[in-house]
Amino acid sequence: MPPQIKRLALLFALFIGLFLVVRHFLVPKSFGEFGHYRGLSLVENQAKTPKYAGEKACADCHQDISDLKSPNEHKSLSCETCHGPGLEHINSTDSIITVRVPKGREFCGMCHAKNAARKADNVVQINVADHNVGQNCTECHNPHSPWLTIK
């Protein structure tokens, strides 16, 4: 074997050896545990705290509103659809953190504004431009029971 090849081979062997050593220290322990990824990442992904509590959690305290809502048109809505994430509110002592109470015609309009893409069977639609202009929706409709008469 020519001497230059020998020298090159030695250099290669050294380089590969060094690569394996560096690799040993750089690749995380859990890499390849389940596949070509860091196994611990699964746990980290799971560990994030949820912010939406789910409807059952709301009904635990607000049974009255749940009962008002459940027989009518808005029964398929989760509380958090309009009120936003609620877990922080549930976990906070004395409910210092409150959930949002949406106001204004625009908010209701996101579902109920007339739109050609909305099917009439799915949702009641009104023309926001000429339906009791200037009034807030909640002056006539109770969001938890839309057709309940408001005194």
Binding site: P28, F31, F34, G35, H36, Y37, R38, S41, L42, E44, N45, Q46, A47, K48, T49, P50, K51, Y52, G54, E55, H74, S76, L77, S78, E80, T81, G84, P85, E106, G109, M110, C111, A113, K114, N115, A116, A117, R118, K119, N122, V123
Partner: protein, 254 residues
């Protein structure tokens, strides 16, 4: 000289034949299937999650996109979405308009008068959690991966932010996080479903458009949805095998 030429030609032909035959045999070998499939069902008895989307019911309120941003700390700027809603409007002259103002979070305004519209409908979009996901296959460091439950996830501590997967996803479901400089995407709310909660978009949907479920559980809502509806997937020609199933998907949807 002539003899040598014949010899080398013969050798070339045998080498070529061996190579072709070798590739053909090798292509049938099982371990190489790993190159084609991003994930294999490691645990056939465990959950294998997917999502059904019933377009007949969608009213385009955009609450799913809003809830997703709240739940997953997605930046509020209108270019970053894990899930969003598009409105397709096909006009009488045959032209098609697709709009998605702020992903639908601020609501949709009808932009054309009723007389001009041939058909209009909403399409919520999200990560398709493909079985053969191109995004997972292109990741150079193993930061994009699929969980044993078939959910396409990101390891933000391992991602180098090269953006290759953003390019690879045929559905445009990934973005580079503006401050963390790593890729972010829909996890089907992995942190929620592993705690027995529903994904945030499913939780808040007022009309029950999205059906989350386990494809391995014959009694799950999703399996029933797939049984009862003539569903379609987005871009089936990409051969990605998406696990998001649309009912009432029109051919115009891209």
């Amino acid at each position: 000289m002539a003899n040598n030429q014949v010899k080398s030609r013969r050798r070339f032909l045998t080498d070529a034949a061996l190579l072709t035959g070798g590739i053909f045999v090798a292509s049938g070998l099982k371990p190489l299937g790993a190159l084609l499939y991003a994930t294999e069902r490691k645990n056939p008895n465990g959950p294998w999650y997917g999502m059904g989307i019933d377009l007949e019911k969608c009213i385009g309120c955009g609450r799913c996109a809003d809830a997703c941003k709240s739940e997953n700390d997605v930046p509020r700027e209108p270019f970053f979405f894990r899930t969003w809603v598009e409105q397709y409007t096909i006009l009488n002259d045959g032209s098609m308009k697709i709009t998605s103002p702020n992903g639908g979070i601020d609501g949709f305004k009808q932009e054309y008068p009723d007389e001009e519209i041939f058909k209009s409908f909403f399409v919520p979009k999200m990560c398709n959690h493909c079985v053969k996901s191109p995004c997972t296959q292109v990741c150079p460091v193993g930061a994009a991966f699929e969980s044993p439950e078939g959910i396409s996830l990101i390891d933000p501590n391992y991602c180098i932010g090269c953006g290759y997967c953003v390019q690879a996803c045929p559905y445009g479901c990934r973005y580079i996080h503006p401050t963390r400089k790593v890729v972010d995407k829909c996890t089907m709310c992995y942190h929620r479903i592993t705690k027995g909660l529903l994904p945030a978009c499913v939780e808040v949907c007022p009309t029950g458009v999205k059906i989350f479920g386990d494809l391995n559980d014959p009694k799950s809502d999703l399996v029933r949805f797939k049984k009862e509806h003539s569903w379609q997937v987005l871009k089936p020609h990409m051969n990605t095998e998406p696990k998001v199933y649309y009912n009432g998907l029109r051919a115009e949807v891209r």
